[in-house]
Amino acid sequence: MSFTVSTRGLTVRYGRTTALEGVNLELAAGAIHGLLGRNGSGKTTLLSTIAAFRRPAAGTVLVDGEDPWENERVMRGMCLIRESGDVQVDLRMRDHLGYLADVRPNFDGDLAGRLMDTFELDPKRRPSKLSRGKKSAFGAVVGLASRAELTIFDEVHLGMDAPSRFAFYDALLADYIEHPRTVVLSSHLIDEIQLMLERVVILDRGRLLLADDAETLRARGVSVTGPAEAVDRFTEDRTVLRRQQLGGTSQVTVDGGLSAADRATATQLGLEVGPIDLQSLFVHLTEKEVVR
């Protein structure tokens, strides 16, 4: 069972600052969505609003077709893990898990136990006494074991070392496959998560920059390298994200993908065409300076 998410004209303000402006977004049920954006782009605000942690100033948000705010049915199907999770820090972790077993209808205690082992967390200890990485790991345990129909991880990886992060990804994938749900991953470590994503949403300065299939985005950015003049001719009427020149050779990052015919043309012109990974594409799309 998975929830859909739909926002229309979503606007959220903190006092006089507008964190989100007119965001129209659809998150398909049962898919793993990546939410990317620079610091301050509004990712956390968006996720908080979806999870009914705060109300929008304008616009609507619908989760499983209903307004989530103070909606008991919808709220118990949503789980937002922010960094180290909002857990009872002065309580033993096993007591907090016991609490969740009561209030989260799909909570799986066995899974929680296995994950505590995986992340080397001692259930008798209290989160307040743990390092940042271990706190985050506990947040991951809570998020996974709660089996909520909409599960959101907002930079849960912070402080976690690489082995722990990959253990998290593995656990997430394995449980997602067995118990499909809608998952949203917000992370700066795009390289690490990008193959797990089915859909990608990018926020920039409070607005929606794009929402697309991960596969499409992986093919969207292309680098074209060769003699400067030939490169310029080839990329004349294309969107250029970045241009670098060294002597007579220039390398250009182009947005919009190349068809097979285009590639053939490029080869004939003596140009080299290469892929642009999702992380680089993201950096280019959200850079402050605009090339053209």
């Binding site: 593995d170 994938l173 193959l195 797990m196 089915e198 596969e215 992986r218 093919a219 642009i276």
Partner: protein, 132 residues
Amino acid sequence: MFDGRDPIYLQIADQIRGEILAGTLSGQEQVMSTTQYATTYRINPATAAKAFTELVDEGLLVKRRGVGMFVADDARDRLLVRRRERFFTDVVDPVAAEARLLGIPVEQIVGRLRATSTPGPDGSGRTAEEGS
């Protein structure tokens, strides 16, 4: 593991095709399930599933309900036929174009091909022994 050149599902499909062709995966052998593929390579299961769907559509893989994905009996043969069809357009023509570009005469190419081919049992110059 996967580079950004082609869509991931295509790369997976190509990899499996390669294994079938090379004989690493033989007919009737079970392939990793999409789940196993996804968890082993840490990719989205939908991507793995897409690759498998394409291979099933091509008749290279068969799905046996409740058991798993298997290589079709005639998978290798099918691939050979396809590759043979495309051999001249995909492989030979580019060689010819490059040779033209470099000014290499055809006779030299033919000579080289003859030299690298091993003589078959009947004395004919078959390259790299294959059954048919």
